[in-house]
Amino acid sequence: MKTLEELEAIRQKTLARISLRKEDKEEAVRVVIGMATCGIAAGARPVLTAFMDEIGRRHLRNVQVTQTGCVGMCRLEPMVDVITPDGNKVTYVKVNPEKARMIVADHVVNGHPVTEYTIGAAEQQA
C-alpha cells in the first residue's frame, strides 16, 4: 500500500516523464538540435542523447528536446538552439556531448548562456 507522500512522488515523477503531453507547454525551455543529414554526419546524435541524459539525470521538467532541419550553415554543425520561455534564442555551434552537458547546467538550469560556444563567438574567431 502506498502512502499519500508516495503517491505524490509517483505523480511528480510521472509528470516529469509525460510533461511534454501536458497542455502548459509554453512554459518549456526548448532545445532544438539540427538533425538534417549534415547535422547527423557532424555528430548530432550523440549530442542529442547527451542532452536527453543530462535532462533526465537532473529530473528537469518543462524542457523539450526537438530536432530541426538544416539551417544552411552546415560547416558549423552540430548546431543547437536553446529557446527560453521569454522567447530568447541562443544558437550554439559545433556542439559535442561535453558542451551539451555544460549548456544544460549553465543555460537551461541557471539561465546563463555559455557565450564561448555561441555562434557569435565562433564567427569572431573565424
Binding site: 502512502t3 510521472t14 516529469a16 509525460i18 511534454l20 542523447t49 536527453m52 526537438t66 530536432q67 532541419g69
Partner: protein, 597 residues
C-alpha cells in the same frame, strides 16, 4: 534514461485496433530499435481519440502532430523522417474533408476537436490506460483523496447535487439526488454499480471511456461508495468489449497494488472493492432492475419500480447505479467544484455530453460538447457534414428509445428537456445521421425490429405490442399498407408506452412515433401511392428502360432472373413480374437508360 524526448501515441481503442493499430505498434517498436531511438522515443498505446473514421491515428508529441490513416509502411517514413530528423511527414497529416489545409496540423487545431470540450473524455487518447502512474500524474485519484480525507459523505453528495450532473445513460435523473436516496436507505450491506451495458446500436462512448481511462471510473465508484456508505462495487460490462474488460481488470489490479482499492484506503478507514461482471449482450440488461438480477445470476428481466434500487437493489440491499459517462464526470466535479461544472452547458443540463457520431457523416467518431450546443454544430462543424454531397434528412438520437429529428429542427440546442420536447431523447448518446437516400419508414422498422428482438418477453405490451407494430411496418414497406395503418400504429404506440413494464418497452415506439410526426407524408406515400420517396424500399421500386436504350444487351446479361427481353439494337423491356429489383441492370447500363422509381 528515464526521460523521453518524444512520445508517439497510438490509438488502442476498438476502432483503431480493428484497423490494425496493434501491428503499427509492433512495427514502430522494431523500427525504433533499428534506428537506435528506442531509448529516447516512447510509443504509448492510448484509448480512443474520437476520430475513428480517420484511424489508425498516430500523434507525435511534443509537437502534437496528428497523423491519420497510418499504415505499417508509413511508420517507416515517420521514424526515418519525423522521429530521426524532425521533419514532419506532411503527406500523412490529417486532412478534414472539404477543408484545404496547407499548415501543419496539431490535434487541437483541427475543426473536429476545436469545437469540443472534453471532460469525460479528457484522458482518452492522452494517457496510457494500462499505466496507473500516468493517470496519477493527470490528477488521478486526487478527487478520491479529497473526498475520503477532507470531506464528509454528505459534503460529497452536496457537491454532486450542486453541480447539476444528470444521468448520462439516457434518463437524465439528477445524480446527486440518486446518491442521497441511497445514502438515506438503511442496510447492512450497500452496493455501487457501474452500468457499462452499452447496447444502443451505434453507441460506443462507454466503451471508449473504459478503454481509454478505466481508472477514472474506478475512482468515481470509490467516491460513490464512500458517499452512500457502500463497500462493494460491480461493473456490469458487455463481454463484447474485450479490450475494455481487460483494461478495467488491469486497472483494478494496479489500484489494489497501490492501496487505492481494498482495505483502509489511504489510511481513511474506508474499505472498497470492485468486481467485474460480464454481460452476455442482452439489451434489456442495460435496464437497471434487469441488470441487477443478471449480476445475481438470474435471467435478465426487469422488475416494476418501486421499490427503487436505492431502497432494494442488488441482493436486496440499497444500491446506486450510474452509467460509465456519469462516473467519468465525478472526479472532475470534486476537484474543480460544482460552479466550474455548472459553467458549462445550460441551466437545466449542466456539463458536457459525449456523442457517438455515425451513419451518413464524414467524421464518424466520438465527440464531447457542452450541453446546449445546437445539433447543427455537432453535425456540420465537428462531424464535417454529409458525405458525397447528399442532403441532410434527419438525425436519430437516443438509439431504439429515441426519435428522428428533421432538418428544420437542427438549431435546437442539445439538452435533456429540449430533445424530449421534440419527440426524441438524449439517450446514451448515439447519433445516427441520415441523408436523402434513407427511407424513414424503413429506419423506424429497423429500430423496432431491434426492440422486438431484444424484448425479454416478460410483459405483454412489449412482447406482443411491438411485434404487432413491426408487422404493420413490414406490410407498409412491402407495399401492402392499408388505410388506417397509421392510426393503428399510433394507438398501439401510445398503449405500449403507457403500459410496458420497463424503459425498453416504454420507449420502444418512439422511433415510430417521431417518424410519423415529422415524415408522415413518407408513410402516406408508401401506403397510398405504393412509392418509397427515398427510392429505398425494394418492394416499391420499379426499374424502367427509357428511350436512351441502344439495345446493347448488357442489361440482359446482367439480369440474374432473365426479366429483360428485347432485340439487339432495339428498345428493351423489363418484365415487372419477374424483376427482383436488384438494380444490376442499372449499374451495367452505359447509356443511363434505366431509371428507378
Amino acid at each position: 534514461m528515464d526521460i523521453f524526448r518524444s512520445h508517439v501515441l497510438l490509438c488502442g481503442g476498438t476502432g483503431c485496433t480493428s484497423s490494425g493499430s496493434e501491428q503499427l505498434l509492433e512495427h514502430l517498436n522494431l523500427k525504433l530499435k533499428e534506428y537506435d531511438l528506442d531509448r529516447e522515443i516512447k510509443p504509448i498505446r492510448t484509448g480512443c481519440f474520437g476520430l475513428c473514421e480517420a484511424g489508425p491515428i498516430v500523434i507525435v508529441y511534443p509537437e502534437g502532430t496528428f497523423y491519420s490513416h497510418v499504415t505499417v509502411s508509413d511508420i517507416d517514413e515517420i521514424v526515418a523522417e519525423h522521429l530521426l530528423k524532425g521533419r514532419i511527414v506532411k503527406r500523412l497529416l490529417h486532412q478534414e474533408k472539404d477543408v484545404d489545409h496547407t499548415v501543419d496540423m496539431a490535434l487541437d487545431q483541427i475543426p473536429f476537436y476545436k469545437h469540443q470540450t472534453r471532460v469525460a473524455l479528457r484522458n482518452c487518447g492522452v494517457i496510457d490506460p494500462e499505466n496507473i502512474d500516468e493517470y496519477l500524474a493527470f490528477d488521478g485519484y486526487k478527487a478520491m483523496q479529497k473526498a475520503l480525507l477532507e470531506m464528509t459523505p454528505e459534503q460529497v453528495i452536496d457537491t454532486v447535487s450542486q453541480s447539476g450532473l444528470r444521468g448520462r445513460g439516457g434518463g437524465g435523473f439528477p445524480t446527486g439526488q440518486k446518491w442521497k436516496f441511497a445514502r438515506a436507505s438503511q442496510g447492512e450491506r450497500k452496493f455501487v454499480i457501474c452500468n457499462a451495458d452499452e447496447g444502443d446500436p451505434g453507441a460506443f462512448m462507454d466503451r471508449s471511456v473504459l478503454e481509454g481511462d478505466p481508472h477514472c471510473v474506478l475512482e468515481a465508484m470509490i467516491i460513490n461508495g464512500y458517499a452512500i456508505g457502500a463497500n462493494e462495487g460491480y461493473v456490469y460490462v458487455r463481454a463484447e468489449y474485450p479490450i475494455a474488460v481487460k483494461r478495467l481488470g488491469m486497472a483494478i489490479d494496479q489500484a489494489k497494488e497501490y492501496g487505492l482499492l481494498g482495505k483502509n484506503i489511504l489510511g481513511s478507514g474506508f474499505d472498497f472493492d470492485v468486481h467485474i461482471r460480464e454481460g452476455a449482450g442482452a439489451f434489456v440488461c442495460g435496464e437497471e432492475t434487469a441488470l441487477m438480477v443478471s449480476i445475481q445470476g438470474e435471467r435478465g428481466e426487469p422488475h416494476p419500480k418501486p421499490p427503487f434500487p436505492a431502497v432494494r437493489g442488488l441482493f436486496d440491499a440499497p444500491t446506486n447505479i450510474n452509467n460509465v459517462e456519469t462516473y467519468a464526470n465525478i472526479p472532475q466535479i470534486l476537484l474543480h467544484g460544482p460552479t466550474w461544472f455548472r459553467s458549462m452547458g445550460t441551466e437545466k443540463s449542466a456539463g458536457t455530453k459525449v456523442f457517438a457520431l455515425g451513419g451518413k457523416i464524414n467524421n464518424t467518431g466520438l465527440v464531447e460538447v457542452p450541453m446546449g450546443t445546437p445539433l447543427r454544430t455537432v453535425i456540420y462543424d465537428i462531424g464535417g457534414g454529409i458525405p458525397n454531397g447528399r442532403a441532410f434528412k434527419a438525425v436519430q438520437t437516443g438509439g431504439p428509445s429515441g426519435g428522428c429529428i428533421p432538418a428544420d429542427l437542427l438549431d435546437v440546442p442539445i439538452e435533456y428537456d429540449s430533445l424530449t420536447q421534440i419527440g426524441s431523447m438524449m439517450g446514451s448518446g448515439g447519433m445516427i445521421v441520415m441523408d436523402e437516400d434513407n427511407c424513414m419508414v424503413d429506419i423506424a422498422r429497423f429500430f423496432l425490429d431491434f426492440t422486438v428482438d431484444e424484448s425479454c418477453g416478460k410483459c405483454t405490451p412489449c412482447r406482443i405490442g411491438t411485434k404487432r407494430m413491426l408487422e404493420i411496418l413490414d406490410r407498409i414497406v412491402s407495399g401492402r399498407g392499408r388505410d388506417g395503418d397509421l392510426e393503428k400504429l399510433e394507438k398501439l404506440a401510445h398503449n405500449i408506452k403507457a403500459t410496458a413494464l420497463c424503459g425498453l418497452g416504454q420507449t420502444a415506439p418512439n422511433p415510430v412515433l417521431s417518424t410519423i410526426r415529422y415524415f408522415r407524408e413518407e408513410y402516406e406515400a408508401h401506403i397510398h401511392d405504393h412509392k418509397c420517396p427515398a427510392s429505398h424500399c425494394r418492394a416499391l421500386l420499379e426499374y424502367l428502360i427509357g428511350e436512351n436504350c441502344r439495345g446493347c444487351t448488357a442489361c440482359v446479361k446482367a439480369c440474374p432472373v432473365g426479366a429483360i427481353t428485347g432485340e439487339p439494337r432495339g428498345l428493351h423491356i423489363i418484365d415487372q413480374n419477374k424483376c427482383i429489383k436488384c438494380g444490376a441492370c442499372k449499374e451495367k447500363c452505359r447509356f443511363d437508360a434505366i431509371s428507378r422509381h
